[in-house]
């Protein structure tokens, strides 16, 4: 079986895309979970502020998700552009 250079590059790009999104998803997942865990605790201590705490939680999660979005962008670039 003859494997050409272009084929190897394409294969590497596919593997790279999969691994970049896969590994990149781990960190934000754990981090966002910690944000939400603390939000649950805070609401348990002070249920009156539930609205404010929910909004703060969502903003915090959106920020910690940004690295996941970077991975998504890189994966899409590897798949379609490079």
């Amino acid at each position: 079986m003859a494997i050409e250079g272009a084929d190897i590059i394409k294969a590497a790009a596919f593997l790279g895309a999969g691994i970049s999104m896969g590994l990149g998803a781990i960190g934000p997942g754990v981090g966002e979970g910690m944000v939400a865990a603390k939000a649950c605790e805070a609401i348990g201590k002070n249920p009156k502020e539930a609205g404010l705490l929910t909004r703060t939680m969502l903003v915090g999660q959106a920020v910690s998700e940004s690295t996941g979005i970077y991975s998504l962008v890189i994966a899409l670039l590897l798949l379609f552009v490079v």
């Binding site: 294969a11 999969g18 539930a50 999660q61 798949l79």
Partner: protein, 325 residues
């Protein structure tokens, strides 16, 4: 080297896979049971008079935590002793996929179900009057936390007992290995996360036995959402297993299928562990502050759902790798 018959490769894959399967699969249960035993010892030292109750809790809990490793043992035994009829190159790939799926898949559930078992020992000393309630709740929590390893077992059996000989060897081998990796890796996080959620519910019932029924319900809600990443992994596995592939001699299509499995597999680990943390705190505070139970449950579900977005991106990339490129 390459002139060897396929059956030699199949035997080799079966022996290698069998070792890999039980080797990986034994990691989780050992850690989980060790945790249970350590907490049991600690609890007994606080109140040696209750050592009988604690011992019973510990043994029952360890038996549940062991089940994931037993699944891995079963798959390893099948690999060692079955004679594969009609062996082809794809049989070897399917064997590797099955071994990876069950091996990785047993890690999370083994560690995870050790947490509620340990907490039940601790609770039995703190509140001996509700020891039975704690045991029931621990059993429910630990059983639900085994679900991801059962997914892995199902995928292993499908890989072992389905006839793939009609598929083109290249690139289907990558799809079979990828299918095993997707479910196996994805089960790690969900097993762990389900365990931490169950741990908090046992703790909560020990603190406030009268809230037992609502705490158990919140625990089940949390565990169900924590299992979504494992379900995504399973979905990608099935798509890979039952897809139709064009025969090709190029490297790229095969790598795309393998990468699809790896992507959703790795991607599911983090969100599920994070979801487990949310579940732990959500259930804990529902037990401590039952008046705010509804609000906390709602936030817990939303928080888990949002922290799962990255595994969904991983699933989308996997689908793109399978269908688009």
């Amino acid at each position: 080297m390459m002139e060897w018959e396929p059956q030699i490769w199949v035997r080799a894959a079966a022996f290698f896979g069998g070792g890999l399967c039980i080797g990986l699969g034994a990691i989780g249960a050992a850690i989980g049971e060790g945790y249970t035993a350590s907490v049991a010892n600690e609890s007994m030292s606080r109140n040696p008079g209750l050592s009988n109750v604690v011992l019973k809790d510990m043994l029952v809990g360890q038996a549940v935590a062991e089940s994931a490793a037993i699944f891995a043992l079963v798959v390893a035994m099948i690999l060692l002793f079955s004679s594969f009829s009609n062996p082809g190159w794809l049989t070897a790939a399917a064997i590797m996929g099955a071994a990876l799926s069950m091996g990785f898949g047993a890690i999370g559930a083994g560690i995870g179900s050790g947490f509620p078992a340990g907490e039940a020992c601790r609770g039995a000393v703190r509140q001996p009057a509700v020891a039975n309630k704690l045991m029931t709740n621990m059993l429910i929590g630990a059983a639900v936390c085994q679900t991801p390893s059962i997914f892995a077992l199902v995928v292993s059996f499908i890989l072992l007992y389905t006839d793939f000989s009609s598929m083109p060897v290249w690139p289907a081998w990558a799809a079979l290995v990828g299918a095993g990796l997707a479910t196996g890796l994805a089960a790690i996080g969900s097993g762990l996360g389900g365990g931490t959620t169950a741990q908090a519910s046992v703790e909560g019932i020990a603190r406030r036995p009268e809230s037992a029924s609502s705490v158990t319900i919140v625990m089940l809600l949390g565990q169900a959402v924590v299992q979504s990443p494992a379900i995504f992994g399973l979905l990608i596995s099935f798509i890979l297993l039952f897809g139709t592939y064009q025969p090709s001699s190029e490297l790229a299509p095969a790598m795309a299928l393998l990468a699809a499995g790896l992507c959703v597999g790795f991607g599911a680990i983090g969100p599920a562990i994070g979801g487990g943390e949310v579940g732990r705190n959500g259930v804990r505070w529902v037990a401590r502050n039952p008046g705010a139970g509804q609000v906390i449950t709602r936030i817990m579900l939303v928080g888990m759902a949002v922290s799962q977005s990255t595994v969904i991106y991983a699933m989308v990339i996997s689908l793109v790798l399978i269908y688009v490129v």
